[in-house]
Structure formats: structure tokens, C-alpha cells
């Protein structure tokens, strides 16, 4: 049987007339668990990349973006895709050009734009790492059934949508 205060809360939330301090402990716990999972997996992948290939995770991520774009990408594109700041990409690219994994040139048609591509070396090294990386991920998620995976995909898609809407509300 619901307590009186619960009924009042329900009325409030329906009428939206009064703001009562609502309980969001469940969402908070969900967020912490989501963060834990990501941190756990990310740390594991970071460590394996370092041990097996002596490469950092951000470098790998950047190369992964470029592998999907044979014609190259602009720094802005990369920055949006990776959801990191512009300045971050500048430095990352600098180091990867230095090590011979990336090729960088100024666009012919718009001199503001820098187009970057994987070099032959970069692509070869990335493919080699990516193949192994995929097995790590499979292993990390090994306990999930195909149905679990589908269901998680669905719920995370909903989560992503929800978060994007919330972000847009703040920064329209």
C-alpha cells in the first residue's frame, strides 16, 4: 500500500503545480554502473594495446576513425566523431604524423581545412591491431548472450537519445 506522501508526489508530478524534491537514486546508481563498466573495459583495452603494440588508446581510436574514411577526414570531423576538443586532435595528429602513421595536407579548395589520412604503414598497423582488439572486446563481453547484446544495444540507443535531448535542452 502506497504511503500518503507517495500519493502526494504522484499528484504533484501529474499536475506539475508543485516542485517536490524527487528521488533519483536509481538513475544515479545506473550512471555510476555505466561509468564503472566503461572505465573497466577502457582500462583493460588501454593496457592490452600498450603491452601488445606499444600504442595508446587515443592513437588507436583516431586511427580507427580514419580507417573507415579512405578519402581522409578533416580535423573537425575527427574531433566531432571522437567527441574530443579540437586542440586535442591537433596534438594527437602531430604525433601520429611524426611517427609516420598519418598523412596530413591542406585542402586544395579551402585553405582552412587540414585533411588527414592513414599512410600505408598506418593502415597496415591499424588492421593488425584491430583484428586482435576485436577478440579482446568479444572476450570482455563473453558472458552476454546474443539476446543480452541486442537488448543492451536497444537500451543504450535510448540512453544516448535521452542524453542528447537533455544536452540540447541546455545548449539549444
Amino acid at each position: 500500500m502506497p504511503a500518503v506522501s507517495d500519493c502526494i508526489d504522484m499528484l504533484d508530478s501529474e499536475t506539475k503545480a508543485v516542485e517536490t524534491p524527487e528521488d533519483h537514486a536509481e538513475e544515479l546508481r545506473l550512471w555510476l554502473r555505466l561509468l564503472t563498466c566503461t572505465t573497466l573495459i577502457e582500462g583493460e583495452v588501454r593496457g592490452r594495446l600498450r603491452q601488445r603494440f606499444d600504442v595508446t588508446l587515443p592513437r588507436f581510436d583516431l586511427m580507427a576513425q580514419l580507417d573507415k574514411a579512405p578519402d581522409g577526414m578533416t580535423l573537425s570531423d575527427v574531433s566531432k566523431r571522437m567527441m574530443v576538443s579540437n586542440g586535442n586532435v591537433t596534438g594527437l595528429v602531430e604525433r601520429l604524423v611524426e611517427s609516420g602513421h598519418l598523412d596530413r595536407r591542406t585542402s586544395e579548395t579551402d585553405r582552412r581545412v587540414q585533411v588527414i589520412r592513414l599512410t600505408k604503414l598506418g593502415r597496415a598497423e591499424f588492421r593488425r591491431m584491430a583484428a586482435e582488439h576485436e577478440t579482446w572486446i568479444a572476450d570482455l563481453f563473453a558472458d552476454l548472450s546474443p539476446k543480452d547484446v541486442r537488448e543492451l544495444m536497444r537500451l543504450l540507443a535510448k540512453t544516448k537519445g535521452s542524453a542528447q535531448k537533455s544536452a540540447a535542452r541546455r545548449r539549444p
Copy 2:
């Protein structure tokens, strides 16, 4: 109708006699989506903390750990809980002691150990931030029904367990 190669794969995966290159594209997509969700929410929370309270996310996270431990924690405890390196905590604590949010003292019984606590100021400021933080999280997850939340919690618990097992397999 399944292709012949699929049947062969299924036999292989049952008998475990032959290693065939299996397809783990779904798990990979799941991992990328998980990472996207976390990055999205984390970035949003980071920005709001900075705008509203001029505090960084790591500082907030550290204070959150200490708020749950009135008797204080050792640096190692904090490091494990936050899943970050020891050296990271050292610097973070340094800055928070400097700003008057934390109190740090050497343990009486074990002179290796540093025990840190929130100061009165630290606790007050944290509580103020935490209250608002909770509403942000609620808003970010607003599109999820209570059932969605429960289901996500369950699947992420399973994911966490799976990842921990996988990590333990590599580093026993």
C-alpha cells in the same frame, strides 16, 4: 536457410575443436555505443560542474567518495574505488587540500598510510553540488522508464561481471 559455412561455424563453436575467425562485430558495436553514452554524459556533467560550481569532474568524484566515508579513506582506497592510478590521486588530493576541501593526516598506527577526509567546507560544498548533480543525471536519463532503468542495471551488472572475469583471466 543457413549457409553451409554457418553450419560449419556452429559445429566448430560447439566442439571447440577448430578455431575459426568468428564474427564479433555486434560486441564491437555494443562497446562503441557504451563508450559513446558514457562520453556524452560525462562531458555534459563536466561542463555543468564547471559552469555552475567552477569545479572539475575528478575533484567532484573524489569528494563523492569521501562523502560516503565519514571516517576518511586511505589514498589506496580512493585509488581503487575511483579506478585510477595512485599517482593520480596524490595530485588530486594535493590540490583539494590546498583549496581547503580536504584534510589529510598520517595514520597513527601505520606511518605509510595517509587518511583523507572532507573538511566542513568540503562537505558543505559537496552536498550543495551533489543535490544539483542528481537532477542533471535524472534529466539525462529522463527518457528511460523505470523498467528500462532496472533492465539496464541488470545487463550492466552482467557486463561488469563479464569484463572483470576477462580481466582476471589475463592478469590472474
